[in-house]
């Protein structure tokens, strides 16, 4: 993978200051509006480039592998499965067309048709998710949880520094930003209860995560090395791994989280490609003890991505409750994918792999209410004067993510989800 040029790029599309969707980014998504059926778009500023229109006009004609209707599907799976040489070239062509001195699209009669207003578009799920895996790769998060629920002196379990611990989650309930959720109901048994009770969860929580999406498949029995891993990864989205702490606490031994998680997970709808993140690559934390050979990495696989969480009660003003960064993760994406496939588990295009809660070292960088309000003992003050231990009905939780360096900004937009009362 080559570093992107750092010479400043400008576009003839007006990109608002602090927009996540600069000409350096160009994430892929699936959108529709009143006029248009579901199709592939690339975001820039407040616009979406309608790739179906560009393709129809012959802008991708040198890519003979592209089927005619490839950008008119309701998911990116088939496009992504064409492989990095194709998807990368499509992104490069779009970037070239958007440069301020390139008149090919700028002065073309189809410009009006090709550039759709983002505000008028509805963003759909960008991929059909076959399988979804959730890791647990932040040492700070695992330490916080271990401290709260087990033993502060032995907060990390013995396996934690040897394997990127993960488990399978529910693919059917992954939804895009903007889709509200209902507070889940379920069984819980607090320590003071004699018997389990049933009702709406009293401890609804978010988990701030990023998820990568695979763009190539493997056969059963095959493994992916850390060195090959990024060739299998198309890009990232923000991921809110909704959690009902009381349901989870009662159910999770010995087989892990189930109903405490599978009622909903919300994602940002624009997939930011690995190419767009290249400029923000860095070395992750050093790992001690040394990992087994199949988990060793030749190159840096961490990324400097700022992450924020906001809570908005009803229609009142929102409060930032967390500022974290993806660079804190102990286990990186190459290790996660190498571990996931070392036993021969096969992967498919569109599979999603969430990072686990991304907590940083400071109290304001914890990625869940469980940690921010420390099990309810330190309620968070919101700007409207109210307090939160967990998430309440009517609250909207918004997560944002962006990279910024050398005057270049590449961001994810947001994943925003309103919580409705139990059905």
């Amino acid at each position: 993978m080559t570093k992107p040029e750092i010479s400043p790029l400008n576009s003839w599309v007006q990109v608002p200051k602090d927009s996540d969707f600069t000409i350096y980014n160009l994430p892929f998504g699936v959108f529709q509006n009143k006029r248009l059926s579901p199709r592939t778009g690339v975001a820039i500023g407040d616009k979406i480039v309608d790739l179906a229109v560009l393709h129809d006009e012959g802008f991708f004609s040198d890519l003979t592998q592209l089927p005619n209707d490839i950008f008119l599907r309701d998911s990116l799976n088939e496009f992504i499965s064409l492989g990095k040489p194709v998807t990368r070239r499509v992104r490069e062509i779009v970037q070239e067309l958007l440069k301020e001195d390139n008149e090919m699209l700028r002065d073309h009669q189809i410009r009006g048709k090709a550039m759709v207003n983002r505000k008028e578009a509805e963003m759909l799920m960008p991929v059909k998710v076959g399988d979804y895996t959730d890791f647990y790769s932040s040492m700070e998060h695992a330490t916080n949880v271990g401290t709260m629920f087990r033993d502060p002196d032995n907060a990390l379990l013995p396996n934690w520094k040897h394997i990127p611990v993960g488990y399978h989650g529910r693919a059917s309930s992954i939804i895009p930003s903007g889709v509200p959720i209902h507070r889940p109901k379920g069984q819980y048994k607090d320590p003071n209860m004699e018997k389990p009770e049933f009702g709406p969860s009293r401890r609804l929580d978010f988990e701030l995560e990023l998820a990568f999406i695979t763009g190539r498949q493997t056969k059963m029995g095959d493994s992916i090395s850390t060195d090959e891993a990024e060739d299998f990864i198309f890009g990232f989205v923000l991921f809110n791994d909704w959690s009902a702490r009381d349901i989870q606490a009662w159910e999770y031994v010995p087989l892990g989280p189930f109903l405490g998680k599978n009622f909903a997970s919300s994602i940002s709808p624009w997939i930011v490609t690995l190419e767009a993140l290249e400029h923000f690559r860095l070395q992750g934390p050093s790992q001690d003890p040394e990992v087994l050979p199949y988990l060793k990495c030749e190159k840096a696989h961490a990324f400097d991505i700022n992450l924020e969480v906001y809570i908005q009660p009803g229609s009142k003003s929102s409060t930032k409750v967390c500022s974290s960064n993806f660079k804190y993760m102990y286990w990186n994406i190459a290790q996660q994918l190498a571990h996931h496939t070392v036993n021969g588990c096969n992967i498919n295009v569109g599979d999603m792999y969430a990072s686990g809660t991304i907590s940083g070292p400071t109290e304001d960088s914890y990625g869940s209410m469980l940690e921010l309000a420390w099990k309810g003992t330190k309620p968070i003050k919101l700007e409207d004067g109210s307090e939160r231990k967990f998430i309440e009905d009517g609250d909207t939780v918004v997560m944002r993510g962006f990279c910024k360096k050398d005057g270049i900004r590449v961001g994810f937009g947001e994943v925003s989800t309103k919580v409705l009362p139990s059905k």
Copy 2:
């Protein structure tokens, strides 16, 4: 649901004595052979009824909801999604056509084309599995595992009798009978090891399970009551939940099994419908303590299904190592599905829900090598004189299942899987 007639039914198709595929059964599957592309079939005796041929000939013409090419798909998902009134009627029509005194197909010129030899057919995955859930619903199994690894006096965890414990598994690696698997590699750390090591699993195991398949979808936020549950269930397959005990033991705290399970799960390719099992319905074990209201059942949801496991070393003769029965399960399928959706988790057509290891009360009825050889302390003797603590390379594990009552036999055929050395 009505009880099937018990007056003896005979077919003009010769059905060998002790065949699982009697005229009372008529399970659905997807097959292909050298001549035929993937399509829907119904098994009877040593034959498969090619439903595409019957449909083409107009035998289902009163079912106007059936698309022309419905039986030429490579999965049953779309057929199943037409709903029980349609799938049940198709099965009834096939049953009617196969009765010995019905000449419509028996004496029809297309009979030769419509009846395919099972031996010459390759069975494919019957459904595309969206999400796969594994439960843990045998009290005997949970007790055995708890006794071995925790505390014989408190073998069952506190939540076990209150919730049908379950977790999400990997959908991508579910394969049909006949597809061999490679021994998985992974990390393990036995109690006597200072550090974790990496290599082929030394404790490869089967788990004898049944899985049901859903035939209707729900929306996020909706729940299914125990009373409605069976309307959402199309049928059952045998399910071998392959497990690498050493990998599982090291990885599973706190988030549950992952690489110890997701390398492969094998299923029998014929889906036995709920209608075919109706005659073998019975009341499951009584539940004490009383379950919460959403888990209470009005009717019986257990089934009397005999289950057997055989180990065949290389091409030598095979040894039966386990005889169990599905009726032992503490939690039934209606409770499992009601629990799974009580939090609003949405389900899709083709989703698979495995029972968890089906162990009975006696030592020869345990559904895994872990229990049969009691953690390696009581090796199992095979007929060729060799011993097994776990499954060895070259072994073929075969699971069979059948119901028998009042002279009526309804069975699953088998799921047979050969274990190859690690890649």
